[in-house]
């Protein structure tokens, strides 16, 4: 692939490049702000991890999918749990199966001679980051998504520092088995083959300083009305109907109604519009009825208002307005 150095994220939802092996091929309707596109391209050029923060549901995670699709890169998604350890991202060694196999083979043979044991590599499974490093060792760059890193234990980001920096690791259970994306060269020389790591965080925990230092930081702001329109357009692959128009207006009103405990985000909005569209097709609702309804009586508020205190306030407003 000669054009690896030239690949850039343009944010138009199209992939003009030749697909890499195992590339992510599902199109992702995603509208990125200009500054975000620029940020992705800087991260791509420097191959530094890009740390994304923002309100829940503003499209932090989806960006990784969109970038992978447009660049024609493979995508490795790591969804972090509270018990995740840094090593889980790299590899898993199934010592237990090996133990069982050895027992079985030494006792199960009929001739009294133990069967030869299987090579240790058979018990090795690479994690998502591990796979990305292996691929990049073979000159295939990829996108790695580390989703909700703040969910993990506080040691997690610190334990990843070396791997993020050097993009190499060795499997201690299998002697001589190691992976190195840099080939022992300088980062600049291998730049175009390295994985681009996209990390999302909801800021439930403060990330450690050394980790932050290695990342580029971008805060995804909630889109404004016109961007929201673009998002609806690209998501539904359709022109803006009067219903969409009204929905955007009403949603905006709702967002600025009060200081929400959980302010409805883009993903909730898209859910809501999906249901509204279904209702419109079933002739249950039209843009006029939607526009005439009180803000507290909008249909399908359950898709937008998610916490009890928020619902209580809406109920109160409803009784006040009769």
């Amino acid at each position: 692939m000669a054009d690896l150095a030239k690949r850039q994220y343009r944010g138009d939802g199209k992939c003009p490049y030749e697909l890499l092996p195992e590339a992510w091929t599902e199109p992702e309707p995603y509208r990125a702000a200009k500054s975000l596109i620029e940020a992705v391209n800087v991260a791509l050029y420097l191959r530094r991890p890009l740390l994304l923060e923002g309100e829940p549901g503003c499209g932090k995670t989806r960006l990784a999918y969109a970038v992978a699709y447009e660049l024609g890169y493979p995508l490795h998604a790591c969804y972090i749990r509270s018990t995740s350890r840094a090593q889980d991202l790299l590899y898993d060694y199934d010592a237990l199966s090996r133990l069982y196999d050895i027992q079985e083979r030494s006792s199960g043979s009929t001739q009294g001679k133990p069967l030869p044991t299987l090579p240790r590599q058979n018990y090795l499974t690479l994690g998502e980051l591990g796979k990305a490093i292996e691929q990049s060792q073979n000159d295939i760059p990829s996108i790695v998504l580390i989703d909700e890193i703040d969910k993990a234990d506080i040691d997690f980001p610190n334990d990843l520092l070396l791997e993020l920096d050097r993009l190499q690791f060795s499997v201690k259970e299998v002697p001589g088995c190691s992976f190195d994306a840099l080939w022992g060269k300088k980062r600049e020389e291998r730049r175009h083959f390295l994985p681009l790591i996209i990390i999302t965080s909801n800021r439930e925990k403060e990330l450690p300083k050394p980790f932050l230092r290695r990342c580029l930081f971008y805060y995804i702001e909630f889109p404004d009305q016109s961007t929201l329109k673009e998002i609806v357009k690209s998501h539904f692959q359709a022109e803006i109907t009067p219903l969409f128009e009204t929905a955007i207006k009403r949603f905006w009103e709702l967002r600025s109604l009060r200081n929400w405990r959980k302010i409805p985000g883009t993903s909730e909005f898209l859910d809501w519009v999906t249901i509204l569209e279904r209702d419109e097709r079933a002739k249950k609702i039209s843009d006029k009825t939607l526009a005439s309804k009180l803000i507290t009586n909008l249909p399908h508020l359950e898709t937008l208002v998610k916490t009890q205190p928020d619902r209580d306030v809406l109920a109160k407003l409803r009784t006040q307005n009769g």
Partner: protein, 375 residues
């Protein structure tokens, strides 16, 4: 290069001084990236790029915006509109260098910078960005006559003696990892041991993963003399909750001295008996007390001292892991109740060193010499 340096360094320096985690490599990275052609399309892009490389949180971004507006924007502005140069002395840029030197130097500097980078900043775009820039040269002239009406900008950002990020970093030291939860990891040694004992392999031994089991009880003095410290105390509490103690934190409130009751709410409502709380929460756990210990009032109160002594005695029967954080600096403890309380409890000023020492005590380090209830 030198021109770029003189433009970028002040901002970088300002951010570093405010505790944004940046190092030399981050500075070089910015220079390298700019030289390879990023962020040179217009002023906004240039700003976006520096922001992307040098800020690590939303709060950092605010600090950056201020520093950028103060230190770089006035210079960019001169580049794009040379006719302004003659009138810069009355420009109210908050930059600390004398304005006259900026104008002569930076025109030179920036004309080079411009040719280097093809910086095409348009007057319109800058107009939106720089709120304090006068609209036209005619207006400028009138400003000259009437200086009083020049717009002034004040930035109110909270500056605490210790940043929240630093606090969270220190709280990470408070840990007590124990194996709890589901058995999921293979205990290699245990399994080998069991094979050795029985001679055959029956089943593998599993063990749970290590999790931080450190538990912290925080007792917070509220209202009265503690009222001015509310932002600091809130920042501290937030850092404890997000510092990674994994939810095992309980907060209680009191006024002046915990006696008889503790309150669940900062407004000192829903009281709980002190004994019940200590019984259920404090046993062998770390207890942190946050109070000015009378230092903010500035006088000596014998009753308060006696009450505090009694409380510490009770607390001592549940745990020996307790420390006191005082938001007043130590020189103000002198000749107040705080000075005496500091001899019976390890008391620290709420700054970086003090918090570090307090966390060490909570982890089980010995008290400083001559501090203790029986000393």
């Amino acid at each position: 290069m030198a021109k770029l340096d003189s433009l970028l360094f002040p901002v970088f320096d300002a951010l570093r001084k405010q505790g944004v985690p940046l190092g030399v490599s981050d500075y070089l990275l910015a220079v390298k990236t700019i030289r390879s052609g990023f962020g040179l399309e217009d002023a906004a892009r240039f700003k976006e790029l520096c922001r992307l490389l040098w800020t690590k949180s939303k709060e950092d971004q605010e600090l950056f915006d201020i520093a950028f507006a103060e230190l770089i924007e006035p210079e960019l502005q001169i580049v794009s509109t040379p006719e302004l140069v003659t009138t810069t002395p009355i420009n109210t840029s908050p930059s600390e260098t004398p304005p006259s030197t900026i104008s002569s130097e930076s025109t030179l500097k920036n004309s080079k910078f411009q040719s280097q980078s093809q910086l095409e900043s348009k007057t319109e775009t800058l107009d939106e960005q720089v709120p304090f820039r006068p609209k036209s040269s005619r207006q400028l002239f009138s400003f000259k006559l009437d200086r009083v009406e020049q717009p002034r900008h004040y930035y109110f950002t909270m500056r605490l003696p210790i940043s929240q990020r630093e606090m969270a970093g220190i709280w990470r030291h408070l840990r007590h990892p124990q194996r709890t939860g589901v058995l999921e990891d293979l205990d290699v040694e245990g399994t080998i041991d069991s094979i050795c004992r029985t001679g055959i392999f029956i089943r593998p031994r599993l063990q749970a993963r290590r999790r931080n089991q450190a538990k912290l009880v925080v007792l917070i003095d509220q209202q009265g003399s503690m009222a001015p410290f509310t932002p600091l105390v809130n920042a501290l509490i937030e850092s404890i909750e997000r510092g990674g103690l994994l939810g095992k934190v309980s907060l209680y409130y009191f006024h002046d001295c915990p006696e008889g009751f503790l309150y669940e709410h900062p407004s000192l409502t829903s009281p709980l008996s002190l004994e019940v709380v200590l019984n259920s929460q404090a046993k062998n756990n770390s207890v942190l007390i946050i109070s000015d210990a009378g230092a903010a009032c500035g006088y000596y109160d014998g009753t308060r001292l006696a009450d505090t002594k009694a409380f510490i005695k009770t607390l001592g029967t549940y745990t020996y892991l307790y420390a006191w954080l005082n938001p007043m600096p130590p020189n103000r403890w002198l000749a107040t109740t705080a000075e005496d309380i500091a001899t019976i409890v390890p008391m620290f000023y709420l700054d970086k060193e003090g918090l570090n020492d307090a966390v060490n005590i909570l982890r089980g380090h010995p008290f400083p010499s001559e501090v203790g209830i029986y000393e």
